[in-house]
C-alpha cells in the first residue's frame, strides 16, 4: 500500500481508494460520524458497502495524511442522542476529492469516446 511513504506529499497522489473517496464525498456535504458515513454510502446505492473496520482504518489513515480531521464529539440525533465522534473534511481533502473527481471525469470522457458507454450523451 505504501501509505506511510506518501506522507507529506498527499496533494500529489494519483488516485483515492473507493472507500476514501466515499468518505470524502460524505464529509464534503457536512460533518458525519462513522455510521453516518456508512448510511451515506448505502444511500448512494453502492453494491459493496465497506466493512466498518475497513472504513475506520481508512479514517485513521486519512486523518494522519491530513485529508480529514476529527471534529467535536457530540450527541447524534440518529443514534438516540448518544455521543459520537464526528469527522470533517480539510482543505487538502477537498483538493484531493476534486482531483479524484477530475480524474474520474477524464476516465468517463475516455470511456465515452471509446464507445464503452454508448452515445447516450449525444
Amino acid at each position: 500500500m505504501g501509505m506511510d511513504k506518501s506522507r507529506g506529499e498527499s496533494d500529489f497522489r494519483l488516485s483515492l481508494r473507493a472507500v476514501e473517496f466515499h468518505i470524502l464525498l460524505s464529509l464534503a456535504a457536512g460533518e458525519r460520524h462513522g455510521y453516518g458515513i456508512i448510511l451515506d454510502i448505502q444511500a448512494r446505492g453502492e453494491t459493496a458497502v465497506p466493512d466498518v473496520g475497513t472504513m475506520y482504518r481508512a479514517l485513521a489513515r486519512m486523518a494522519e495524511n491530513g485529508l480529514i480531521a476529527a471534529a467535536a464529539r457530540r450527541p447524534a440525533a440518529d443514534a438516540g442522542d448518544e455521543r459520537r465522534n464526528y469527522y470533517r473534511i480539510t482543505d487538502a481533502g477537498v483538493r484531493a476529492a476534486r482531483a479524484e473527481v477530475r480524474r474520474l471525469e477524464a476516465l468517463m470522457r475516455a470511456a465515452r469516446i471509446g464507445g464503452l458507454l454508448g452515445k447516450a450523451a449525444k
Binding site: Y35, V52, G53, R57
Partner: protein, 889 residues
C-alpha cells in the same frame, strides 16, 4: 428490556472482537468502531429482530478477522506503532550507522568503563550490601573477648564456659553456639587414601541457629553433644562432591582421625559458612561434628572457641552489646578475679567484611570517579558531534522543527549510546567478574555469591542510559539555541562558537578527575611495590612446605611422634636436590601460631608495669636448623642444633623481645620461667619471620624446640635449588613409604604463601591502576579531539597569520599554549581532589603517605606529559598549512 439486553450482549461481542486490532488502533478508533456497530445492531433489531442481529454478528466476525490482523500487518500509519520515540529510535540508529567509527568508539569506551564499574559494583553489592543466606542474618553476632587487662589481645577466643553462659543467658539472646576448627585425617574407609580436612566442632544447634537445613539426611539432634555423644558427622557439599556425590553415604561410617563416625547429613551447596577467627581470616570447614566435652566444664581460661549467637529479631546492637557484656561480667568475676575482661559482639556481616571494606570502598570511589570521567568524555564527544550537526539543527529549525523535537532527538542519541554501552558493559562484567575471582584471595568473604545478576545488569544499563542522557544535556541545550541567523553569523566569523568554551570546560574537568584517579592509583601501586620488595624476614624462594599431622589415634605416645617426624625429616633430606629440611608448628604469613604471655624476671628491661612486662607472644615450635633453612637472620647466638639435650629446653627470641627485655645487656643464657616446667634458656636472637604482614613486625615471637612439646602437627619446609614444585611427587612417595595412614595437607611453596598474603593488595593495585589508566586515556582522547577541532576551525585564521609573516613554529606554539592552559587549569583544580582522595585511601596504603610528594609529582608530570602529547599530535597539522592555499579556500 429484551432489546437493551441484546444490544449489550452485542456490544460485548464487538468489544471481544476488537482485541484483534493492535493496541494503538484500539486506543484511537476502538470506541468509534464499537459505537458504529452498536448503531448497526440497533437498526438490525428494529428491522429484522434476532435473525438479522445474528447476521450482523457474523458479518462483524468476518470484518474483524480481516481488518484486525490486516491493521497489524499494514498499520494505517507505520510509526504510530511506537510513537514519537520509535521514530526517534529509527532516526538515531540511522544517524549512528552513518558514523560507525564514532558510534563504535563511544560504545567501546562506555563498555570498558561501565564494565569495570559493573565488576566493582557487583563485588561491593554482593559482599557489602546483599544479605547473607541465613535466616534473618542481621540478628547473628560473633562474640569475642577483650583480654586487654591481662595482655594485648583485643579480639580473643572465648573459653567453653563463656559459650555455655551465652547459651543459657536468655533475654534478647535467643541461642548460641561455640565453634572450634580442627584439622583431621579423613578417610572414607580404612582402605582408602587418607586426606587432611578441616572439621568444625560445634554445638548441635548450629544449623538451627543459622536457619539452614541439610540437603540430605538430617542435622544434629540436641542430645548429640557431650562426652558420651554418638560420633556423627555432617559433610559440607564440597567434600561430599569430592567423595563422588553419592547420596547413599548418609548412614554409612567414615573415619575421622581413625575413629568411625556416622554420616548423618550433607549440607546444601549454597552453605558457605565461615567461622571467623580471633586473628587472621575467616575459615570454612569440610565437615561438621559436635563437641565431645561439656562446654561449661572446660577450663574457662583456655580460650579456643568462637562464639556465635542469635538475638531476637530486631534487637538493637546496643541491647545486644549490653546483654553480651552482662554475660562477660559473670565470667570475669568467676574465672578472672574481676580483672575487667570483657565480652563484646560484632554483627556477622560487618565482622566478615571488615577486612575488605576499606579496599572495596576505595574501589567503589575509584569506579565512581571513572564513571564521572566517562560522562564528561561522552558529553564532549556528543558536543563535538552536535557541532558538526549545527548546520542541520539550524536548517531544521528554520524549516519549522520545534525545539522539543531537536532536544528530544539529541537526548535520545545520548541515551541510546549509553544504553548500548551499559548493556555491553554488564555483559563484559559477567566474564570480568569471573576473571577477578580467579585472582582474588581464597578467603574473600562471600566469594561464591559474587556474580553479575539480572538486577545488576539492569542497574548498569540504567546507569549507562542516564549517563548518556546527562551527557547529552549540554549538546541538547545548545541544539535548542542554534538558529539560522546565529549560524550564519558564526560562519561569517569562522571563530569559536559557544560550544568551544563548553568543550574546553569538559577537558579541564577530565584532566582534574584524571589527576585525582591517577594519584590514588599511583599511591596504591607504590604501596604495593613497597609490599613486593618488603623483606618478610626470610627467603621465600626455593622453599616447599607440607604439613604432616601425626594423630594420636595412630601414634599415641610422644616418643613415637618424634620418631616418625625424624624419619620424615630424614626421608625429605634424602630427596635429590634438597639442601635443607626443617619444620615448624606455624609457617610465616599464615597467622596460625598460638599465643602465650612471658616475662623474663631480672632482665634489664623490666619496668615494673605488669602488663608491659608480660607481653603476649606468638610461640612457634621449630625443629633444628629452621632459621637456616628459612633464611632468617640470626642476630646473636645460634639456632637449634641437630642433637638435643633432654631437660634443657632452648628457645630463640626475636629482636623485638630482645630489645624490650635487654635494651643494654646480652639476652643469651637468660632464662624464661614457665610455672612448674623447666625454664626456657635463650640461646639465640633472630629477626622476625613475619607471621601476619609482609611489611611490618607483628606480635613478638618466641621459638621453642618442637620436640620439647611433642608438637603433632608440623609443617615441614624443604629448601631446594630446583623448582620446589618438582619435589612434590618425591615428597608424597616418601611419606607414603613411612606410613600410608599419614595424610598430607597444605602442600605449597613458600612463594605461594607470600603471594596469597599479597593477593588482596594486588587486586586493589591492579584495579585502581586500571581505572587510573582508563581515565588518563579518556582525558587524552578529550584533549586530542578539542585541539584537533580547534586546528580545523582556525585553519583559515592560521592561514592569515602565516601569510602575515608568522612562522609555523609560532602558530604551533599558539595552539599548544591553548592546550597547556587547559591542562594547567585542570591540574590546579584537581589538587584539592587529590588531597581529599588521599584521606580516603589512607586505610589501604602501606608505607606510603597519602600525600607522598614523589608519587604525586611524578603523577602530575606524567599526566602533563601525556596531555601535552595528546595536544601536540593534532597540533602538528598546522605545520602543513599552506598560507596561499588556505586563503584561497
Amino acid at each position: 428490556m429484551n432489546g437493551t439486553f441484546l444490544l449489550n450482549l452485542s456490544e460485548r461481542w464487538f468489544r471481544l472482537l476488537l482485541r484483534l486490532y493492535p493496541a494503538d488502533f484500539r486506543d484511537e478508533m476502538g470506541e468509534s468502531v464499537v459505537e458504529t456497530y452498536r448503531d448497526r445492531a440497533r437498526d438490525a433489531v428494529n428491522r429484522g429482530g434476532v435473525i438479522r442481529l445474528a447476521g450482523l454478528w457474523l458479518l462483524a466476525l468476518v470484518d474483524f478477522l480481516r481488518n484486525g490482523p490486516g491493521e497489524r500487518a499494514h498499520p494505517a500509519v507505520s510509526w504510530r506503532r511506537t510513537g514519537n520515540w520509535g521514530r526517534d529510535l529509527e532516526l538515531a540508529t540511522r544517524r549512528l550507522m552513518r558514523a560507525p567509527t564514532l558510534a563504535a568508539a563511544v560504545v567501546g569506551t562506555l563498555t570498558v568503563g561501565l564494565g569495570t564499574f559493573a565488576v566493582v559494583y557487583t563485588v561491593v553489592d554482593k559482599i557489602l550490601i546483599e544479605p547473607m543466606p541465613y535466616r534473618s542474618p542481621d540478628d547473628l553476632y560473633f562474640v569475642w573477648r577483650d583480654y586487654g587487662p591481662i595482655f594485648d589481645l583485643k579480639r580473643g577466643w572465648l573459653g567453653g564456659p563463656d559459650v555455655a553462659e551465652l547459651q543459657k543467658a536468655g533475654g534478647v539472646i535467643e541461642g548460641g553456639v561455640g565453634l572450634r576448627r580442627e584439622l583431621a585425617t579423613f578417610s572414607e574407609r580404612d582402605s582408602t587414601d587418607p586426606m587432611q580436612i578441616a572439621v568444625m566442632v560445634t554445638s548441635p544447634n548450629l544449623f538451627e541457629l543459622l536457619g539452614v537445613q541439610p540437603a540430605l539426611g538430617r542435622g544434629f539432634a540436641m542430645s548429640e553433644v557431650g562426652p558420651k555423644r554418638a560420633p556423627v558427622v555432617v559433610l559440607a557439599h564440597e567434600l561430599w562432591n569430592r567423595l563422588g556425590a553419592n547420596p547413599e553415604i548418609v548412614g554409612s561410617d567414615v573415619r575421622l582421625n581413625g575413629q568411625p563416625y556416622t554420616v548423618i547429613g550433607v549440607l546444601p551447596r549454597s552453605f558457605a559458612f565461615m567461622r571467623h577467627s580471633s586473628l587472621g581470616a575467616p575459615q570454612r570447614a569440610d565437615a561438621y561434628t559436635t563437641f565431645d566435652v561439656n562446654l561449661a566444664e572446660v577450663n574457662p581460661r583456655g580460650g579456643s572457641y568462637a562464639g556465635l549467637i542469635r538475638v531476637h529479631r530486631g534487637t538493637s546492637p546496643q541491647a545486644v552489646a549490653a546483654a553480651v557484656d552482662a554475660v562477660g561480667r559473670v565470667i570475669d568475676a568467676r574465672a578472672f578475679d574481676r580483672k575487667g575482661l570483657k565480652l563484646y559482639p560484632i554483627g556477622l556481616k560487618p565482622d566478615l567484611v571488615a577486612r575488605v571494606r576499606p579496599a572495596l570502598l576505595v574501589l567503589g570511589f575509584a569506579s565512581a570517579f571513572l564513571v564521572l570521567v566517562l560522562m564528561v568524555n561522552l558529553a564532549s564527544v556528543l558536543l563535538a558531534r552536535a557541532a558538526q550537526r549545527e548546520h542541520e539543527f539550524a536548517v531544521s529549525r528554520a524549516l519549522g522543527a520545534n525545539n522539543v523535537a531537536l532536544v528530544r532527538a539529541t537526548l535520545f542519541e545520548g541515551g541510546l549510546l549509553g544504553c548500548i554501552g551499559g548493556s555491553l558493559g554488564a555483559l563484559a562484567a559477567v566474564w570480568a567478574t569471573r576473571a577477578l575471582l580467579a585472582l582474588a584471595p581464597l578467603d574473600l568473604p562471600r566469594r561464591d555469591a559474587v556474580a553479575v545478576d539480572w538486577g545488576i545488569g539492569a542497574v548498569v544499563a540504567g546507569i549507562g542510559t542516564a549517563l548518556g542522557l546527562l551527557a547529552a544535556v549540554a549538546p541538547a541545550t545548545w541544539a535548542a539555541r542554534t538558529s539560522l541567523s546565529s549560524l550564519l553569523a558564526m560562519s561569517a566569523v569562522r571563530g569559536g562558537g559557544g560550544h568551544g568554551r563548553m568543550r574546553r570546560g569538559m577537558v579541564i574537568a577530565q584532566v582534574a578527575l584524571s589527576l585525582v584517579l591517577l594519584s590514588a592509583g599511583g599511591l596504591v601501586v607504590r604501596s604495593f611495590e613497597r609490599l613486593l620488595v618488603a623483606d618478610p624476614g626470610f627467603k621465600p624462594d626455593g622453599l616447599l612446605t607440607v604439613r604432616v599431622p601425626i594423630i594420636p589415634q595412630f601414634f599415641p605416645n610422644a616418643p613415637d611422634v618424634l620418631a616418625v617426624q625424624q624419619r620424615i625429616e630424614d626421608a625429605f633430606t634424602a630427596i635429590p636436590g634438597v639442601t635443607g629440611v626443617s619444620a615448624a608448628t606455624a609457617l610465616p604469613l599464615t597467622a596460625s601460631a598460638s599465643q602465650n604471655t612471658f616475662t623474663i624476671p631480672g632482665a634489664p628491661g623490666i619496668t615494673g608495669d605488669a602488663a608491659r612486662d608480660n607481653p603476649l607472644v606468638d610461640t612457634i615450635g621449630i625443629r633444628a636448623s629452621y632459621p637456616e633453612v628459612m633464611g632468617m637472620r640470626i642476630l646473636a647466638g645460634r639456632g637449634f642444633e641437630r642433637t638435643r639435650r633432654d631437660g634443657v629446653p632452648e628457645v630463640l627470641i626475636d629482636s623485638v623481645l630482645a630489645k624490650q627485655f635487654f635494651p643494654t645487656g646480652n639476652p643469651l643464657g637468660a632464662t624464661i620461667p614457665r610455672g612448674q616446667n623447666t625454664p626456657f634458656t635463650i640461646v639465640g636472637v633472630v629477626d622476625q619471620a613475619r607471621l601476619y604482614d609482609v611489611h611490618q613486625d607483628g606480635r613478638p615471637q618466641l621459638y621453642f624446640r618442637a620436640e620439647d612439646n611433642a608438637a603433632r602437627s608440623l609443617a615441614f619446609v624443604l629448601r631446594t635449588g630446583r623448582d620446589p614444585h618438582a619435589l612434590v611427587p618425591d615428597v608424597r612417595a616418601a611419606v607414603r613409604r613411612i606410613d600410608p595412614r599419614l595424610a598430607l595437607a597444605d602442600l605449597r611453596t613458600m612463594d605461594e604463601i607470600v603471594g596469597d598474603a599479597l593477593r588482596q593488595q594486588r587486586i586493589s593495585a591492579v584495579l585502581i591502576a586500571g581505572f587510573a589508566l582508563g581515565a588518563l586515556l579518556l582525558a587524552a582522547m578529550g584533549l586530542f579531539s578539542v585541539v584537533s577541532s580547534a586546528v580545523t576551525r582556525r585553519h583559515h585564521e592560521f592561514g592569515v597569520r602565516l601569510a602575515l609573516g608568522a612562522d609555523h613554529g609560532r602558530v604551533l606554539r599558539l595552539v599548544l599554549r591553548e592546550g597547556a592552559l587547559l591542562v594547567t587549569i585542570g591540574l590546579l583544580i584537581g589538587v584539592p581532589g587529590v588531597y581529599l582522595a588521599g584521606g580516603f585511601i589512607k586505610g589501604v596504603l602501606v608505607g606510603v603517605s597519602p600525600l607522598d610528594p614523589a608519587t604525586l609529582l611524578t603523577v602530575a608530570l606524567g599526566l602533563a606529559l601525556v596531555a601535552m602529547t595528546a595536544c601536540y599530535l593534532p597540533a602538528r597539522r598546522v605545520l602543513r598549512i599552506e598560507p596561499a592555499q588556505s586563503l584561497r579556500e
